[in-house]
């Protein structure tokens, strides 16, 4: 794993992608800090951090798009497959390399609150927990980007998939606010989601009977629950969407609440998509 980590870092810094990401994040951090803190004489660094999360929509896909797709394109994935290193270690090595690159601007930005403290009262706890949440959000988005990169050998397609997923996640609070709270709407929306999931299961497993059986059982259970107790579904789809609102959750930290469940949530999302990436890479051997 260390060998993979070192190799990835060397490539990121020899191709300037690493420097570019760090410079871009620091530039954005500087712009947001100037507007939020310096222009308005505000010591609340956490607001600047919360406002700059949308920058990750572009920055993270650009950083992660090459992770696996470039290996496939250059045919170096064969080297990774034959080395006596497990897939999980390969994925973890690559993830840690990106995490280190993402951590560099975060560490530099961690000095900003210290600088502000010379001119006013800074709530360090809130500032640093928000910065930590920001880093964990980056990690979660990075794991999604890595998963997207493992699906294709075209970097551009990987970036578009990653950007698409991240954009949907970013827009979830708006989508959630604008969805109907009626039970009939929620049950139909869940029915569509189940159908889409079963199509995905079919594409992964190539087993039509299994996919159909899953679809029939899940839809039957869904409609049965709706038939006997429709009230259960009232406003449920909006709440369901809110589960995936990764960007929105950072606001809790910016408001001064250090919610450990959100930290666990970010770590869980990261691990989940890293597992998907391991599975996706392992599956390529079986094709």
């Amino acid at each position: 794993m260390t060998a993979i980590l070192k190799k990835e870092l060397r490539i990121y810094f020899s191709t300037f992608t690493g420097y570019l990401f760090i410079a871009f994040m620091l530039l954005c951090g500087g712009i947001f800090t100037s507007f939020v803190n310096l222009v308005y004489y505000s010591p609340n660094f956490e607001y600047a951090v919360r406002n700059m999360t949308f920058v990750l929509l572009i920055a993270v896909p650009l950083l992660t798009m090459r992770v696996f797709s470039e290996e496939k394109k250059q045919k170096t994935e064969q080297l990774l497959y034959m080395l006596p290193v497990s897939f999980s270690r390969i994925v973890m090595g690559k993830f840690l390399a990106i995490a280190i690159i993402m951590a560099i601007p975060v560490i530099i930005m961690a000095f900003y609150p210290v600088a502000f403290s010379f001119f006013g009262v800074v709530n360090f706890k809130t500032a640093y927990t928000t910065l930590l949440a920001f880093f964990l959000l980056e990690c979660a988005l990075c794991s999604i980007g890595m998963f997207a990169s493992s699906l294709t050998e075209n970097q551009l397609i990987a970036a578009v998939i990653s950007f698409g997923i991240t954009l949907i996640i970013y827009m979830i609070p708006d989508l959630s606010a604008n969805t109907s709270s009626a039970s009939s709407f929620a049950v139909k929306a869940f029915a569509v989601i189940i159908a889409v999931l079963c199509v995905i299961v079919f594409f992964i497993s190539k087993k039509i009977k299994l996919s159909l059986a899953l679809a029939v059982i899940a839809e039957a259970v869904l409609w049965a629950v709706y038939y006997f107790s429709p009230a259960v579904f009232a406003g449920s789809f909006g709440k369901f969407l809110d589960i995936f609102a990764l960007f929105e959750k950072i606001g809790t930290f910016a408001n001064g609440i250090c919610d450990i469940t959100i930290i666990i949530y970010y770590i869980s999302i990261t691990l989940l998509f890293l597992c998907f990436t391991v599975q996706s890479e392992s599956k390529r051997r079986w094709r």
Partner: protein, 325 residues
């Protein structure tokens, strides 16, 4: 060392490798032959763990490639068809990475890297970015990563592609040297290369194993027949009249008659009946001296084409019979 049993790879309904079984022992150089699309690279990818088989097992030193993949891969060094090199790295950095990933003890990595760079002749390029290297040098870097750490099994897919004639000779010598301490499997389209380097040959056609023998046996014998090439002082017709009725001669192929009156011909005869003494006596009786005579060995090209042709014909016969039914 390598036990392959019932190996099959299917892509949808297309069977690329069909029930392949063979065993390869220690310290020998194996040539892997087959026409394009025969399944050579797929088989190599499966042996090295890069690709999972649809059916069958591969055991490397007793470790199953599916169950103990990490342990099994420890014994293998592999150069795929396209050298798996990182263009943004220098050969030295790249080999250091491979060495570390191959779990070579830290204190030995540098020595190992310099050793393989020396062997493959890339020492003078050690600090140049791989993207700036020629195809031949990239191929050498690929070979260097395969032999790094002295693996017990070295698998090379088309190792001399892109190399100039001098480099080809160097790499052939290197392969022979590696073959003294490790098992080497080479796939190549250049049959002379295979016959020059390999002790044993595996021929696959349409995903099936059609021949496995030592190079000597394959090249030296074909269906119990032998070819003899002769130079005889005398008229072509007289020679044919003298020897054509000798028992054991299957075919006489007169080639040409030189201005000196020497006739060149090839005689194909039944090895069991060996008519060489009778030919000598018959020609001697007619006062037609033999200037030279030697047993002509079949070239690997002939053997290869013959075996592959037979496998195609039998496949065709089988499918026709099935169609008839």
């Amino acid at each position: 060392m390598i036990e392959v049993s019932g190996l099959t790879k299917k892509y949808g309904s297309n069977t690329v490798v069909d029930n392949l079984s063979f065993t390869i022992g220690e310290n020998c150089v194996f040539g892997f032959l087959g026409p394009n699309g025969a399944g050579k690279s797929t088989t190599m990818n499966m042996i090295t763990g890069c690709l999972a088989p649809t059916e069958g097992t591969i055991k490397i030193n007793g470790y199953d490639m599916s169950e103990d993949s990490e342990k099994a891969r420890q014994f293998i060094g592999y150069l795929p068809e396209i050298p798996p090199v990182y263009e943004e790295m220098t050969p030295f950095e790249y080999l250091m990475f491979v060495g570390e990933a191959k779990k070579i003890p830290k204190k030995d990595i540098k020595d190992n890297v310099y050793n393989v760079m020396e062997k493959t002749g890339i020492k003078k390029m050690e600090n140049r970015l791989i993207k700036n290297l020629s195809k031949g040098y990239r191929q050498r870097v690929g070979i260097a990563q395969a032999i790094l750490g002295n693996p017990q099994i070295v698998i090379l897919d088309e190792p001399t592609v892109g190399l100039d004639p001098e480099q080809i000779i160097e790499i052939r010598d290197l392969i022979k040297e590696i073959g003294k301490t490790a098992t080497v499997i080479i796939s190549s389209h250049i049959l002379t290369e295979i016959s020059a380097v390999c002790d044993n040959i595996l021929i696959i056609s349409q995903g099936k194993l059609v021949a496995k023998d030592t190079t000597e046996n394959l090249v030296g014998a074909k269906d119990g027949q032998k070819h003899i090439a002769m130079e005889i002082m005398g008229d072509k017709d007289n020679i044919l009249a003298a020897i054509s009725n000798i028992e054991g001669i299957i075919k006489i192929v007169p080639l040409d008659t030189t201005d000196d009156g020497i006739t060149n011909l090839e005689i194909i005869f039944d090895e069991a009946l060996d008519p060489r003494a009778a030919i000598f006596n018959a020609l001697s009786k007619e006062n037609m001296p033999i200037i030279s005579s030697y047993i002509k060995k079949n070239t690997l090209e002939e053997i290869f084409l013959d075996i592959v042709q037979k496998s195609f014909t039998s496949e065709l016969t089988e499918s026709t019979a099935k169609g008839g039914e």
